[in-house]
């Protein structure tokens, strides 16, 4: 069953609202409208179809904005869902449709102005979309489609698959939700922390794809980072006072604040030490700093996001690169290695150590890391090594290490940066 096409600018609307305005409302409200419709009608696909029906009706009927567009859309969507079920009853006269109609008809609509009721529905849907019984890539796609209200085409573009493939993936996901009985529910208290970690992992993945995406157009990546931040803010609003959420949101805001300074107009990478810090988004940094402080004050053990945000905060606070509080950064990386042992974190730790104890000490750490072989094939390992060797005046070895990095680097901007470093060695 395909959704009714949206007829923008229908001739039947005499006093037209601007199409852009209506589309923006659809975009902003889609997540909450869908979440509440799913609760009311009890089925993901039916709710989606009903929402499309409601959007089509709005395009036809809205001459001015209703007092509460979300309540209007939910109300019309619910009635459209009942219409659809009745059609099924006429077509098949099956008992399950008759039961379904009775259930939907008996569900009370939430009061139009009840933000909490809409919020609860939204939170339930977030946990459904990020359920661990779905594959990670499905969770991400479903979240972008259902919660963020991105079109299937936009989600497909973000993951470099064609629209048909993505549509199939989403259909399979909705079938699994129904077939396997994945609940539309906020997990019980004993499962909440664990499941929240899963939701945060989805948001962080969306952000990482947007921040350092290995593929895709820059514009789309910026959208993804923005969506991830929007999701973080939404979750922070729906589940207030959880330090892991505040930490992740802070991390994303602080990283994203540097976006404008991270690359030249030609797409060349500018590393932290060379960035024009006046281009950093100070309002966003202030936001991120306040959040990270709140997350660090929380009584529970800081999450990995909070520690990473704290590192980012120290960079953000330094007016110049040489003002950076490296000893504290080294300390935070040591905390991070304990919380989440990973060779990449160790590599970052070694780079920070070089700023405190000097490149010779850091080189020992890097050589130990290299010997373990965990990061074989990762171009940043020889890159960092080359940087240390150069600072120690061992230029020949530095050149060899950069050449090794050049072989491993896959993305053009990364390769250009290494070529530039090689040229600087001459």
């Amino acid at each position: 069953m395909t959704a009714a096409p949206l007829r923008l600018g229908s001739a039947r609307r005499e006093h037209r609202m601007r199409d852009g305005e209506i589309e923006r409302i659809f975009r902003d409200e889609a997540g909450r409208v869908l979440a509440t419709l799913i609760r009311l009608v009890g089925d993901f696909e039916l709710a989606e179809e009903a929402m499309q029906d409601a959007f089509a009706a709005a395009l036809e009927q809205w001459t001015a904005l209703p007092a509460n567009p979300r309540a209007w859309l939910v109300n019309v969507g619910r009635n459209k869902a009942i219409d659809r079920i009745r059609r099924q009853i006429r077509l098949r006269a099956k008992r399950r449709y008759i039961e379904a109609e009775a259930i939907v008809a008996s569900q009370a609509l939430p009061p139009a102005a009840d933000e909490d009721a809409f919020g609860d529905d939204m939170l339930r849907l977030i946990f459904t979309c990020c359920h661990p019984a779905l594959s990670m890539e499905t969770r991400v796609a479903l979240t972008l489609r259902a919660i963020c209200g991105l079109t299937t085409e936009a989600v497909a573009r973000a993951f470099l698959v064609n629209e048909e493939t993505m549509a199939q993936r989403l259909v399979r996901a909705k079938r699994k939700i129904r077939g396997a009985g994945i609940p539309y529910a906020t997990p019980s208290a004993d499962m909440l922390d664990e499941r929240l970690d899963g939701v945060l992992a989805v948001i962080y993945l969306v952000f990482s794809e947007g921040y350092a995406g290995t593929s895709g157009a820059a514009l789309m990546r910026e959208d993804l980072a923005r969506e991830a931040i929007r999701l973080g803010r939404l979750l922070e609003e729906l589940l207030p006072g959880r330090s892991a959420i505040a930490g992740l949101l802070a991390l994303m805001l602080l990283h994203d604040a540097r976006r404008a300074a991270r690359a030249t107009a030609d797409g060349d990478i500018i590393l932290l030490d060379d960035q024009d810090r006046s281009q950093w988004d100070q309002a966003q940094i202030a936001d991120g700093l306040a959040l990270v402080e709140r997350a660090l004050r929380a009584p529970e053990r800081p999450s990995v996001y909070t520690v990473q945000a704290a590192i980012s905060a120290l960079h953000a606070r330094a007016r110049h690169h040489q003002d950076t509080d490296w000893p504290q950064i080294v300390g935070l990386y040591e905390v991070l290695v304990r919380l989440q042992p990973s060779p990449v974190v160790e590599l970052n730790h070694a780079a920070a150590v070089s700023m405190v104890d000097g490149p010779a000490r850091a080189l020992d750490l890097i050589d130990a890391l290299t010997a373990r072989g965990d990061l074989a094939g990762y171009h940043l390992l020889p890159s960092v090594r080359a940087n240390l060797l150069n600072r120690l005046g061992r230029r020949e070895e530095a050149r060899a290490a950069y050449q090794e990095a050049l072989v491993l680097a896959k993305l053009d901007p990364e390769r250009r940066l290494i070529v530039k470093r090689l040229a600087e060695l001459e």
Binding site: K94, R95, R96, H131, A133, G179, A180, G181, I182, P183, A185, P187, S188, M191
Partner: protein, 116 residues
């Protein structure tokens, strides 16, 4: 909804445990089964004999072929099952997590198909 919990574990390791005295595991299973009967989740459940006692049947071009053992060599073998009634997947997976073999093997949770 009804779910089948398929209990997969390594038979060779289970044999070793049996030699070492299975009492602990048996007790854990007895306690677990009793608890899901009391909560009303239990529909059915059995342990299976080893896969070396299994026979596989397939029909190709009208001819029945009967072979020894399961189809493929895998690291873990189906060793038993529970059929349970649960409100949703979250309840089913939390019950699955309590199956004693979950600690040594894995439990596959399969919703039962409903024809309507």
């Amino acid at each position: 909804m009804q779910y089948l919990l398929l209990i997969y574990a390594n038979e060779a390791e289970a044999d070793k445990m049996r030699e070492a005295g299975m009492k602990e595991m048996m007790d854990a299973y007895r306690t677990f089964t009793q608890s899901i009967i009391e909560k009303g989740n239990f529909k059915a459940g059995d342990a299976l004999q080893r896969t070396s006692n299994a026979t596989t049947v397939r029909v190709r071009n009208g001819k029945t072929m009967t072979t020894d053992g399961p189809f493929a060599e895998t690291r873990e073998q189906l060793g038993g099952y529970y059929l349970i009634e649960a409100k949703d997947l979250d309840e089913a997976t939390s019950i699955a997590a309590r199956v004693p073999s979950a600690k040594i093997g894995s439990i596959e949770v399969r919703p039962i198909m409903v024809y309507s």
